[in-house]
């Protein structure tokens, strides 16, 4: 018979801690959700934990369509589409670049591969702010400053060290014989990459997609500096909404806009969380 689980003092402490931790992370979300469906008259009462008495989605509609971001009052939807326009190509290109880099570094081992890799890794540890000004000048020189291709390029560059490391480690875990066999079969650089290595990379690609989408979607600084006023990403628009006050502060609209902005990474985690863990844990193919 299974021994009955008893509430020992240790167990009580454990549960107390877990509940506290859960509350700690859930309370802000609760406040945000609740506030976003309250009309301003209720918010003014000051009971931020109280449930709404007359729930309404007006604030959500306003946040999406007509909240003011500076002088324009078109809501956050423009920023949403800008973020999509920036995130999609940036994710795709940075993963392609990282995969090719990692593949070349771990299988073709060009002369100076180790040096190249160390330099790339150093790049990952230099704070991005150091590179801001030189990058602005460089992009301006090639006419890419303040454009979608420009910000995409910047994201690809900043994502490269991490993506290269990720793919290099994954490919290093594959047996070398596989590559040698393909070489004898006559495969060239691209043929082996597209027909053999890329189809085997699904787990690591899932991890890379989650990392890149989250990073690029959440990015504020690079978007603000490089995207240009027509292509400001959602994060920057959100900041503008919250900082634009005409009369009273519309807390419900701010809350709704914030939730809308964080919806994409949140959804991504919910959909692919399982694969994410699997991809990180497995790494290698089973023989």
């Amino acid at each position: 018979m299974k021994p009955a689980s008893r509430m020992t003092p240790g167990r009580v402490g454990l549960y107390a801690f877990l509940i506290m931790a859960a509350l700690f992370f859930l309370v802000p979300l609760y406040v945000m959700l609740v506030t976003s469906v309250k009309p301003m008259s209720e918010i003014r009462l000051g009971n931020i934990f109280a449930l709404p008495t007359a729930p309404t989605l007006d604030a959500w509609g306003m946040a999406w369509k007509s909240a003011c971001t500076g002088l324009e009052c078109e809501g956050i939807r423009g920023g949403f589409w800008n973020s999509v326009k920036i995130t999609l190509p940036s994710t795709v290109f940075s993963i392609i670049v990282g995969a090719v880099n990692g593949y070349a570094l771990s299988f073709w081992k060009p002369r100076g591969a180790k040096v190249l890799f160390s330099v790339l890794m150093m790049g990952a540890f230099i704070p991005g702010q150091v590179m801001l000004y030189p990058l602005v000048r460089a992009l301006a020189a090639v006419d890419l400053y303040s454009s979608v291709p420009g910000i995409v390029l910047v994201h690809v560059i900043f994502g490269m060290p991490m993506m290269t490391l990720l793919f290099r480690n994954y490919y290093a875990s594959l047996p070398d014989e596989l590559f040698k066999a393909a070489r004898i079969d006559g495969g060239g650089f691209w043929r082996i990459f597209f027909e053999l290595m890329l189809p085997m990379s699904t787990p690591v690609i899932v991890v890379a997609v989650i990392m890149q989408v989250t990073n690029i979607w959440n990015d504020f600084l690079l978007g603000l500096v490089f995207a240009g006023s027509d292509n400001l990403p959602m994060t920057v628009q959100l900041n503008n909404i919250i900082n634009t006050t005409t009369g009273e502060r519309l807390y419900n609209v701010n809350m709704a806009a914030t939730i809308l902005t964080s919806l994409v990474p949140l959804a991504l985690y919910f959909i692919s969380g399982r694969w994410f863990v699997r991809g990180i844990a497995s790494g290698a193919v089973k023989g």
């Binding site: 014989e177 006559g186 495969g187 053999l196 089973k286």
Partner: protein, 352 residues
């Protein structure tokens, strides 16, 4: 079909010379086994023939053409790996036809070749399966099939049977031998298993630390090992060794030490024997004849039953001896078939 000729080959990995001025001639259609303990450079040699390792000196010729710096795919070779190295995302058919699809072979021809290889290796029912759904033996068959499909002139095998269990190994070994007869292609096979080497090879090259110790037919290598290393490496149980010296007495040549004296007048000395040479006498266990009327007395320490025969371990003045017997009742003494012994110089370790 092609011969392979390796001239003064030098391979340096990192800072150490793995192979230094190695020469090897493999004839057209021959089955050559490179035999040696792990780390002796045999796989390195094979991979350099395949073009997967850059050489630092010397030349590799395949079919009379210098292939030292030619790309692996253009050498007319096929390589079978110990770990099979099947492409995990492709099914068996795609695995076998990958190389042909790359070099643009017409579809009909690909189909014909894959069908032929699949028939040879009994893979027809498995063509749609992914490697993950195959057993070890089946995987290695697919890997061999991939080599056959290439219709290469030279087949290279890198310990292809080492990952299989004993029964499968015996089975696939036989199939490989038959395959060689059927295809008639030149094959070079790396292994550390002496049974594989003895059964498969037309000639064996025994290697130790990057140097070929002896390159000859399996029989010659077994009966007339060129040095002490070869003598000790082949044969199970190992050759029995006695230390002593040569003596010449009244036209007869004797091997002598304090306990024994063996007439070796019939031995094919490479140079005329010199009395007083310190040497080692090697006797195979099957040439150590055990009978109660034997010349030398020795106590039995252990009997190993092998089914068809028994291995009798004896202690002869502190030396462990093995003898192969049919029946353990005969024991207590042994004699030596002096016409089947080997003699080695004690210092140079070379065959006398």
């Amino acid at each position: 079909m092609s011969n392979v000729s390796i001239k003064n080959l030098q391979i340096t990995l990192g800072d150490n010379k793995v192979i230094d001025s190695l020469n090897l001639e493999v004839k057209d259609g021959e089955f050559v086994v490179l035999l040696g303990a792990s780390g002796c450079g045999k796989s390195t040699l094979l991979h350099s023939i395949a073009g997967l390792i850059d050489v630092s000196g010397g030349a590799i010729e395949i079919g009379g053409k210098d292939m030292t710096w030619v790309d692996p795919k253009d050498r007319g070779i096929a390589l079978v790996f110990q770990s099979y190295a099947l492409y995990p995302t492709m099914n068996v058919e795609k695995n076998m036809s990958f190389g042909l699809r790359i070099n643009g072979t017409p579809k009909e021809e690909i189909k014909r070749r894959v069908a032929r290889a699949a028939e040879m290796l009994h893979l027809q029912p498995l063509l749609d399966r992914k490697p993950a759904n195959l057993s070890g033996g089946q995987r290695q068959r697919v890997a061999i099939g991939r080599a056959i499909v290439r219709e290469a002139d030279v087949f290279l095998f890198d310990e292809p049977l080492s990952n299989l269990d004993a029964k499968l190994r015996t089975e696939l070994r036989r199939e490989l031998k038959l395959l060689h007869k059927q295809l008639g292609a030149t094959m070079i096979y790396v292994t550390h298993d002496q049974v594989e080497a003895m059964t498969l090879a037309s000639r064996i090259a025994v290697m130790k630390s990057g140097v070929i110790q002896q390159f000859d037919t399996p029989d010659t290598i077994y009966r007339e090992p060129a040095n002490l290393f070869v003598a000790g490496f082949l044969g199970s149980p190992c050759m029995n060794m006695f230390r002593g010296e040569l003596a010449v007495e009244g036209g007869r040549t004797l091997f002598r030490n304090e306990h024994m004296s063996v007439d070796v007048s019939g031995y094919a000395f490479r140079q005329p024997p010199v009395a007083g040479t310190r040497c080692v006498l090697g006797v195979r266990p099957e040439d150590t004849v055990v009978s109660s009327g034997g010349q030398y007395r020795a106590g039995t320490t252990l009997v190993e039953a092998m089914g068809a025969h028994r291995v009798l371990w004896m202690d002869f003045h502190g030396t462990q001896l093995a003898a192969i017997v049919q029946d353990e009742r005969e024991s207590g003494a042994f004699s030596i078939r002096s016409e089947a012994v080997s003699l080695f110089d004690e210092t140079s370790e070379l065959r006398l």
